[in-house]
């Protein structure tokens, strides 16, 4: 058993592999050089793990490729895997998220895109179809674009109920479905949108990332554009868990895949000052669902530190004890093999890290 860490950067995908329980890493890449890899997934539901990469060339546009040999070779269909139907009148900007569905739907993969839309694949991520119910939602004309573009960046299937699905977007907020995507309702009650005249709107919040608790699938954690929240009712309502953090601004939010109540984030000072809190490289962890937070920095750079960590540039693996990973906009990637207690450098001097995903393969 090896650990694979997929690192999507602004100029290609790097693959780090560890065969000694995450102590040392061998790195290949860049795969898809000169493309921005905003989305990557390791689908371990298959007998052979499948890698999925969503890459965007600034010249030649976006696409999705798959690999069934851990990145030794890649396959991309002739026809665009993700494309908007002609009647929509829009074209795909990029794929922001690739998310395998639950184990009961082994061939289903979801894709969140820019402009804000959800696509569904029923062939393991080889081809996708627009989810019309969300595209036709009456709120869609009022969804706005954040600095990174208007995109669905989070797709969270429910681990036990395939009818339930949650998506989040910047800027539009959280939307939930309880009927397998046939209909959608906003789920933003309690999330403040300080940048709007009505600070408590039904939708329009700038959600940066949402993660689902391992022990209680009704429990969710959200890092917002200012504001850190928890929901205990599957995203219907939210309450602040920002107390104890040095700042309520940041991008990632990662939940432990097996241990309920444990989450990690990487706070930045503020919207207007997007440096790490106190200009230090620290991950913050809660072991009680956001009640208390503790800084983690053993093995991380000491002294002034300025690179940010983007929304998908932090992840966890399913090993024991749990591994945590993050990559910075300065091209460094750090790993912890003890749930964040200590860290070591996996790679340095890569292009800006956009996303990371880890799995046992």
């Amino acid at each position: 058993m090896a650990t694979l860490l997929a690192i999507g950067t602004a100029k290609g995908l790097f693959l780090a592999t560890s065969g000694d329980d995450r102590r040392t890493w061998e790195i290949t890449g860049p795969h898809f050089p000169m493309t921005g890899v905003y989305a990557v997934a390791v689908d371990t539901r298959r007998s052979t793990p499948r890698l999925l990469a969503g890459m965007t060339s600034s010249h030649f546009g976006p696409s999705v490729a798959t690999s069934d040999d851990l990145g030794a070779s890649w396959d991309e269909p002739d026809q665009a895997p993700v494309a908007f139907p002609a009647d929509t009148g829009v074209s795909l900007g990029r794929v922001w998220q690739l998310m395998p569905a639950g184990p009961d739907q082994p061939d289903v993969v979801w894709a969140g895109t820019e402009p804000s839309a959800l696509f569904k694949s029923t062939d393991g991520g080889r081809s996708f179809e627009l989810v019309r119910s969300l595209w036709d939602h009456p709120h869609r004309p009022q969804w706005e674009a954040g600095f990174g573009g208007q995109a669905i960046h989070t797709v969270l299937p429910h681990p036990r109920d395939p009818a339930r699905l949650l998506v989040a977007m910047s800027t539009g907020g959280v939307y939930r479905s309880e009927d397998a995507g046939a209909s959608w309702a906003p789920g933003n009650t309690g999330i403040r949108a300080y940048f709007m005249p009505n600070e408590w709107p039904e939708f329009g919040q700038c959600v940066h990332k949402v993660a689902r608790d391992a022990g209680n699938p009704e429990r969710l954690y959200a890092q917002n554009h200012h504001g850190v929240y928890r929901s205990d009712d599957d995203g219907r309502t939210w309450s602040s868990i920002a107390d104890g953090l040095p700042s309520d601004f940041g991008f990632p939010m990662v939940a432990h895949p097996r241990r309920g109540g444990m989450v990690w984030t990487f706070p930045l000072v503020a919207d207007s000052e997007r440096f790490p809190a106190d200009h230090r490289c620290r991950v913050f962890r809660s072991a009680d669902a956001g009640g208390k937070w503790e800084p983690l920095s053993v093995g991380l750079p000491e002294g002034p530190f300025y690179p940010a960590v983007l929304r998908d540039a932090m992840c966890a693996d399913e090993a024991t004890p749990g591994g945590v990973y993050f990559g910075t906009r300065s091209g460094s990637v750090y790993a912890s093999r003890d749930e964040g207690d200590s860290w070591s450098l996996v790679a340095a001097h890569l292009p800006d890290v956009l996303c990371v995903r880890a799995a046992e393969v």
């Binding site: 030649f60 546009g61 269909p77 026809q79």
Partner: protein
């Protein structure tokens, strides 16, 4: 025959060829439609799903930038040379 010249980054989508011979002519759109029939992955690097030329891809028909000569409706003669070039962009 119309000759389509491909830049290095796109030749892999045409089996390594640097030039394609296309029977369709009349307009640039017709030429690109035939390219799409033979090489669909190459074609979607050049145009998006709406059929629009990608923003940072330039096409010159007999040396003239198509964006200044009618876009995809640019006339293409039977013996024309159509050159696809990535624009100067990126960081």
């Amino acid at each position: 025959m119309v000759t389509v010249l491909l830049p290095g980054p796109l030749r892999g989508e045409a089996g390594g060829a640097s030039r394609l011979s296309i029977t369709a002519a009349g307009t640039l759109r017709a030429v690109l439609d035939e390219v799409a029939t033979e090489h669909p992955r190459l074609a979607r690097r050049i145009r998006d799903e709406r059929g629009e030329l990608r923003r940072y891809v330039n096409i010159f028909v007999d040396g003239e930038d198509c964006r200044h000569s009618g876009g995809l409706a640019t006339p293409v003669a039977d013996d024309a040379e159509v050159q696809v070039l990535p624009s100067v962009a990126g960081g």
